[in-house]
């Protein structure tokens, strides 16, 4: 038990299976799935300086590695910060899961998926983590595609893309073995880099291979899909940094930063332009993730000019922004009793549900990066970096942001316009906002606005997060 791998990977996996067996007792599984990740995150913070804990004169030592099938899985004290972030995500989504009608497997599988994402960061050789990512995709299926409805195209595409990425990453690992000692192998370096980058493009869903993102967001409950995508975005960002940290040939490839910048601009542009013409809020969730992937790509491309600091600073605000958007979309779905939030459903809704509507609008403004909100300080830095670096990239990104603003204005206009009166008197809707919802909205608004005014509140605790990437920091 006194091993970091057992505590932060083995134990949660075992507990998630226990929760599966307790499936009938939904309240108990929800409470346990909330408490367990919180404890694990707390313990990770506690041991993040040193794997020794002194209590009442007694010292508890933790080992930092475990050998499994001849390979080592290692979690050192310096890496526990990453572990705590992943378990905090799990906690945040499980804590509110009872408020919404999500899959009965959400609590147990969310814990399992978080533990698997933790293992992705620490398996040696790290290339094998590609198979764990495939396992995560397969484990996510019951959450994304609830029973009673046929399997839709989004989930099929998602599974296909995740599977296609697996061999690319594994073969790249084999192809570049020993490349560090033969610097003349430029062709191999290029092939390896292309395989790695295409693998990540398939995993994350970068334009034009992003179609599964909005489709999946439309088919699934916003609470579930946002949880999976947030974990995936954080997990894959850290995993890509691991590639950069370990592979000097990739890190030093002169074209890599240019490529990442173009990927970033393309993601922001495509997400913004397509979102501007959308009239389904569920699909927009997918486009917000696409745009955020763009900002992550920019942060990594500008790692020589403080991009990684921006990435760590933006970690918690970004998670909170997606969480707030998920709360607002799931609340809207609950109060309108509608499976998909089309503009038709949202006509005049601000008059009936002002608090939930304000939360939705504020969450979207936050994700766009408007001043006063928590994501503004970091996005402002990224925009500044882009504008001083390359004019075409700044123009493309600006068009993307304008597209998002257009979408916001269209949504705002729909929400204040009474339009079809049927929705005002619809018997299916509950026409009064509960006091609990109102309090929640006020608290969430404070959570997404205060870090915009005081950026250090959320960035200080994660300043040392990337310390284990010694070649990047």
């Amino acid at each position: 038990m006194s091993n970091t791998v057992v505590i932060w990977i083995g134990l949660p996996i075992a507990l998630s299976f226990l929760l599966v067996s307790l499936q009938k007792y939904q309240k108990i599984t929800a409470v346990l799935a909330t408490i367990i990740p919180l404890i694990l995150a707390g313990l990770a913070v506690l041991f993040s300086n040193d794997l020794v804990l002194s209590i009442a004169g007694r010292q508890f030592f933790l080992e930092d590695s475990l050998v499994l099938f001849g390979r080592t899985i290692q979690i050192t004290a310096g890496q526990l910060g990453m572990v705590s972030v992943l378990y905090l995500v799990c906690f945040a989504w499980n804590a509110f899961s009872r408020l919404f009608i999500v899959s009965q497997w959400f609590n147990s599988l969310s814990l399992l998926i978080t533990a698997l994402w933790v293992s992705v960061q620490f398996i040696n050789p790290f290339i094998y983590s590609a198979v764990v990512i495939e396992l995560i995709a397969l484990t996510s299926v019951p959450l994304l595609s609830p029973r009673g409805t046929p399997a839709k195209n989004g989930i099929i595409r998602f599974l296909s893309m995740q599977t296609l990425a697996l061999p690319l990453i594994l073969v790249s690992g084999w192809m570049v073995t020993g490349i560090e000692t033969s610097p003349s192998a430029q062709a191999l370096v290029l092939r390896g880099a292309i395989l790695v980058l295409i693998g990540f493009i398939l995993w994350v869903g970068i334009f034009p291979l992003h179609s599964w993102l909005p489709m999946l967001a439309e088919e699934s409950h916003p609470w579930t899909i946002s949880f999976l995508l947030v974990l995936m975005q954080v997990g894959l960002a850290l995993f890509f940094l691991k590639f950069l940290n370990q592979y000097g040939w990739l890190r030093n490839l002169p074209e890599l930063d240019t490529f990442l910048k173009w990927i970033g601009a393309l993601c922001i542009l495509s997400a913004g332009v397509i979102a501007a013409f959308q009239s389904n809020l569920n699909r927009m969730l997918g486009y917000f993730f696409l745009a955020e992937t763009g900002y992550l790509a920019f942060s990594m491309a500008f790692r020589g000019s403080g991009g990684l600091e921006v990435l760590t600073m933006t970690l918690f605000p970004r998670i909170l922004a997606h969480w707030a958007l998920a709360v607002s979309l799931a609340s809207m779905q609950r109060i309108t009793r509608s499976e998909t939030l089309t503009f038709e459903v949202l006509k005049g809704i601000i008059r009936r549900y002002p608090f939930a509507s304000v939360l939705l609008l504020a969450s979207i403004l936050n994700l766009i990066g408007m001043p006063l909100f928590s994501l503004y300080p970091t996005k402002h830095i990224v925009w500044k970096l882009i504008s001083t670096d390359n004019l075409p990239l700044s123009l493309l990104s600006a068009v993307g942001v304008l597209g998002m603003l257009t979408m916001f204005l269209r949504l705002f206009s729909t929400m204040i316009n009474p339009g079809n009166q049927n929705h005002q008197t619809g018997s299916e809707e509950s026409n009064v906002e509960e006091i609990g919802l109102i309090i929640m909205v006020v608290v969430i608004l404070m959570v997404i606005i205060l870090p915009g005014l005081f950026p250090n509140v959320l960035s200080r605790p994660v300043q040392e997060l990337l310390i284990s990437f010694e070649n990047l920091t």
Partner: protein, 199 residues
């Protein structure tokens, strides 16, 4: 003569994958999947010791069994009708699959020389053939059962290739888990579709 004998499993594996790509009869597909996994054994055996080579066909049979039991439970297993005329779609898929294999055969020497010099050419042909047929399957149909078969074919081709490049017990354990989970996901989709059709 011995060379012909060693090539029989390769062609049987690829033929089974082509049948799965072409035919849309669940019983035939399950038989073809079984043949595909069984005849992978001699190919895997050529690069791995006996005890390790047994893992993939054994996993494949487990996968097929899971899919078979699920299809039985939803009443999807019907008597095989062999005298059905092939549809235009089936002819198209069969020709596309054959074309891919012919193209692969012509590009194989270059691929082997430039990228996989350590992999025997027969082994490379079988593995890349399975990968390409699996990809074609993924691209030509959206029915979950066939998507599952497409992914399984793609993965078995990749596993076959990777065995000749590198072997790790941890990776093998993870890939076996992926195959079994994939079968469970396929079964989940079959049940879901059956449920939604009855409601």
């Amino acid at each position: 003569m011995s060379e012909i004998l060693t090539q029989i499993p390769i062609y049987l594996v690829l033929l089974a994958a082509l049948v799965n790509l072409t035919r849309r009869q669940w019983t035939i597909n399950l038989v073809a999947l079984t043949v595909q996994y069984l005849f992978l054994f001699p190919l895997v055996r050529s690069v791995l010791p006996m005890e390790l080579a047994l893992i993939q066909p054994f996993t494949g049979l487990m996968v097929t069994l899971i899919l078979y039991l699920t299809l039985v439970s939803v009443g999807g297993i019907e008597k095989v009708k062999l005298n059905i005329k092939p549809t235009s779609g089936e002819i198209f898929r069969a020709l596309a699959g054959l074309l891919l294999l012919v193209m692969l055969q012509s590009f194989l020497p270059g691929l082997q020389r430039e990228v996989f010099p350590l992999v025997p050419s027969d082994h490379l042909f079988a593995s890349m053939g399975l990968i390409l047929i699996g990809l074609l399957q993924l691209g030509t149909i959206s029915e979950p059962f066939y998507i599952a078969i497409g992914i399984l074919t793609f993965l078995s081709g990749f596993q076959l290739l990777y065995y000749a490049l590198d072997y790790s017990y941890l990776l093998e354990a993870l890939l076996v888990t992926v195959n079994l989970l994939l079968a469970i996901v396929g079964a989940f989709f079959i049940v879901k579709n059956a449920e939604s059709e009855t409601t």
